[in-house]
């Protein structure tokens, strides 16, 4: 049961092979047995999950089941969940039981899905390795010495280990696509504004986007359909109809124009990763696609621009954690400034503080124009690169990450960690959608192929990813971890 896709589980539930309760109990037991080692969950909501599973089974019994009814999922612990601790991987919110549900949480519950719990993450979604969690690092099920990627590392590891068939993540600079690549699953970052951010704890508001992480593109299509859509509570959410993302999955790729950004195959890309990506592209050629090289000339500016814009927004977004209305408060504050300074010093981890300091510095008087304004100008140039490229090609392809998953503790220097996101970060600056699909292995560690499309081209991306998965079986591979316990 643990190695089935969401789509397969839906069919099995519909056929009555097992009930949602049986499935839920099975997965809860598996989490119980395996997650001590993996650390992919921060909170497991077993009781609520079983209740939801029972409700789903009843719904099914009355013939009212929808496509998600009774399907187990997990939520990155950044989505506010009423009555459940929503920690964001931070000591600051360790005691925060959310009084309300995020829009996507409401939508998934209304669709009859069953949440098993909240997954581990880099604190406030700041990180590329999941080592920045107050709840400890998550391990990569393919190799317990490796990181699962971040910041949605818990979601990626849980899906890869067969603890849950799918999960939600968020992506501000690659936080869905990179862990999906490192863990050998499929992860989609939708177009900015496609999925509501209401109730999704903000890191960098103009970059954050929630999206599905699952074994297959088909499963991502199913989940995206359930969470996408205009939300009156999110001013930046887009008023645009939501198609059935599964409808175009089978469309032929004959004549598909694929662009390979020259800058995504340069120095710093591990040769074995490049080889795996090029092999994947050959598969596309065999499916009738045309491949050409393109250029995204401002690529190398994406990381510098991001590390101005994201920390600036974060420094402001995280000011609300002041020990007054919710969250961590220091013991016996002597005065107001002491309350603020100690609560925040104790509540936030090192990387979060680092980004708050950068953001505060670059926004301050005398630096604003040189940093923030400049970064926003460069952001426009970066977006224009993509808009220009999509004049000539339908999708862009390249690696999701320059290397496969690295070892836990291997990257101590923040800048070298930041440079990991070289292929994912520009996509958030431009607001376009991107998907990572499993495309091979380097020394038993998965490699992800990243596919990018124009704004709102999710159907196309899912179609392109799905056809690849029909022609390959990388996404079907299972890590040894947890197999003997299946």
């Amino acid at each position: 049961m643990h190695d089935k896709t969401l789509t397969e589980l839906a069919a099995a539930l519909a056929a009555g092979e097992f009930s949602s309760r049986e499935l839920t109990e099975f997965l809860l037991a598996r989490i119980d047995r395996l997650d001590g080692e993996l650390n992919s969950f921060i909170t497991v909501t077993a009781d609520a999950a079983l209740e939801a599973a029972d409700r789903a089974d009843q719904t099914r019994a009355t013939g009212q089941a929808g496509p998600l009814t009774g399907l187990p999922l997990a939520l990155k612990d950044i989505f506010c969940t009423r009555g459940v601790r929503t920690s964001c991987g931070s000591r600051m919110l360790d005691n925060f039981v959310s009084p309300y549900d995020a829009t996507v949480v409401e939508k998934l519950a209304a669709a009859g899905s069953v949440s098993l719990g909240k997954t581990n993450m880099d604190e406030f979604a700041m990180g590329s390795s999941n080592e920045n969690s107050f709840y400890g690092p998550v391990k990569n099920p393919w190799d317990l010495a490796a990181v699962p990627g971040g910041s949605s590392g818990g979601s990626a590891a849980a899906v890869a280990a067969g603890l849950v068939p799918a999960a939600l993540g968020t992506d501000t600079g690659g936080s869905i696509r990179q862990p999906a690549a490192f863990c050998g699953i499929t992860g989609l970052k939708p177009t900015y504004g496609r999925v509501s951010r209401y109730g999704m704890v903000a890191y960098a508001s103009s970059l954050d986007q929630g999206g599905p992480m699952a074994r297959t593109a088909e499963d991502c299509a199913l989940l995206l359909g359930a969470i996408a859509g205009h939300d009156l509570r999110d001013s930046t959410s887009v008023a645009r109809g939501v198609p059935d993302y599964r409808e175009e999955l089978e469309t032929s790729l004959s004549g598909l124009k694929i662009g390979l950004p020259r800058e995504y195959f340069g120095d710093g890309l591990a040769p074995e990763v490049e080889a795996a990506v090029r092999d994947a592209i050959k598969v596309y050629e065999s499916l009738g696609a045309e491949v050409r090289e393109v250029s995204l000339p401002h690529t190398e500016l994406a990381i510098p621009a991001y590390y101005v814009i994201a920390p600036a927004e974060a420094s402001s977004n995280l000011s609300r954690y002041d020990g007054v209305r919710f969250g961590h408060r220091c013991e016996n504050p002597t005065d107001l400034v002491d309350l603020y300074k100690r609560s925040r010093a104790e509540g936030f981890g090192e990387e979060v503080k680092r980004r708050i300091l950068i953001g505060t510095h670059t926004l301050s008087e005398g630096f604003f124009d040189a940093y923030y304004k400049k970064a926003q100008q460069v952001r426009r140039l970066i977006r224009q690169d993509f808009l220009d490229a999509f004049e000539d090609v339908d999708v862009l392809m390249g690696p999701a990450s320059p290397t496969p998953a690295f070892d836990l503790g291997a990257k101590k220097d923040p800048v070298s960690m930041y440079l990991q996101d070289i292929y994912t970060i520009a996509i958030n600056l431009a607001g376009i959608p991107g998907i990572s699909v499993p495309a091979g292995f380097v020394q038993e560690r998965p490699v992800g192929l990243q596919i990018l499309g124009p704004h709102f081209a999710e159907s196309r991306l899912l179609n392109v990813a799905h056809r690849f998965q029909q022609a390959t079986d990388w996404h079907r591979r299972q890590p040894a971890f947890g197999k003997e316990n299946a």
Partner: protein
Amino acid sequence: MQWEAVIGLEVHVQLATQSKIFSGASTAFGAEPNTQACAVDLGLPGVLPVLNEGAVAMAVKFGLGINAEIPETSVFDRKNYFYPDLPKGYQTSQMYQPIVGPGEVEITLDDGTTKRIRVHHAHLEEDAGKSLHEDFHGMTGIDLNRAGTPLLEIVSEPDLRSAREAAAYLKAIHAIVTYLGISDGNMAEGSMRCDVNVSVRPKGQETLGTRAEIKNVNSFRFVEKAIAHEIERQVELIEDGGTVVQETRLYDPEADETRSMRTKEEANDYRYFPCPDLLPVVLDQAYVDHLRATLPELPAEKRARFQDELGLSAYDASVLASSRAMAEYFEAVKDVCGDAKLAANWVQVELAGRLNKEGLDIADSPVTAEQLGGLVARVKDETINGKAAKQVFAALWDGEGESADAIIEARGLKQVTDTGAIEAMIDQVIADSPVQVAQYREAAPEKRGKMIGYFVGQVMKASRGTANPQQVNALLKDKLDNA
């Protein structure tokens, strides 16, 4: 040396929306603490703002009301600072692209002349909560009900030259926002608050002196007093060889002085940047035109019309147009009685005098405009004389009758103009006052004018005030002089 003050005002007006600027929580005043602070107002993790159309419409109306430019695009920025009444650690405001561009406000000076004060811009922002310092064993209590209430901050150019002018400007802003119905203008409840920038310079000098900012001056009277005090302080300081430092000062109405508020330690750096949770606000021309069509006649226009069309004096026009309630009351009285000058006189003297004495607002007047109009109509057509009119007014005030006509009827106050009836009363008075008649007749003609008053009084008394005084006078004179 002759000194000149240079004053600019930042007026914060709470807009009269039902809900907050970025959330659906109520803005009603006086609720239990934190019962009107929703998830968005509290800045809970994950919440997001959505802009209230009502606040936008009110801001635009204000802009149109001061003939300001309304830019097509305005943008919200975050002003970052920590304070317990500021839940998100930033105030959402408009720093670089405000919703209302440059405009101007006409103020009326003491001599009845007008002066135009330029408005630099007006922008939308959210109000903060309140800190309560009482009874929490050394702690401060925070109530966030007010957090997120829409504010329009109206920033003037430094065109004001005296405390009186500043007060007149504040009154003009008050009149405009209440005319427009975009604020209740209730200064006691904090619906209008004011920060003042004051500097002084030798008369004739072009360059500006160093300014001090006086925070939160919250009544017309305090604005005037605080500024007058601050001007005096600065002049004295300079004349004593000191220099004015740029600082924030707080006005203490009890001591009638301003004092320095912040020490140099706190150099603020608000790190303004565009709010990434809100998109640019783009107003199309049709929307602005639609709002323009809903604008009422504003104080300046009303003042001009009262003078030009109704023939009122500049002073009367200015007083009657000073508030929408007053103007509407006056116009209703005028419409009922058909005489603008008489209506103006009654509203300003009798009604305003009594309201003032009782400490009432015109909106709370026990005498309706309809009733007062009915009374003035009877004065105009001479159904009653002035003395009876005052009686009728008093009766209306005390609720002793539905209308002037009913009171006149019930009390028999209708003016007696029947010569025969008046003559009969005169004859009776003459017969009853032999001594006074004798004195009168012995007096020199130039002294008689004063002496006749006694007889007029007696006749009026006999008529219970209803005899026409002019008729009584003429007939008495005739009878006394020609006997």
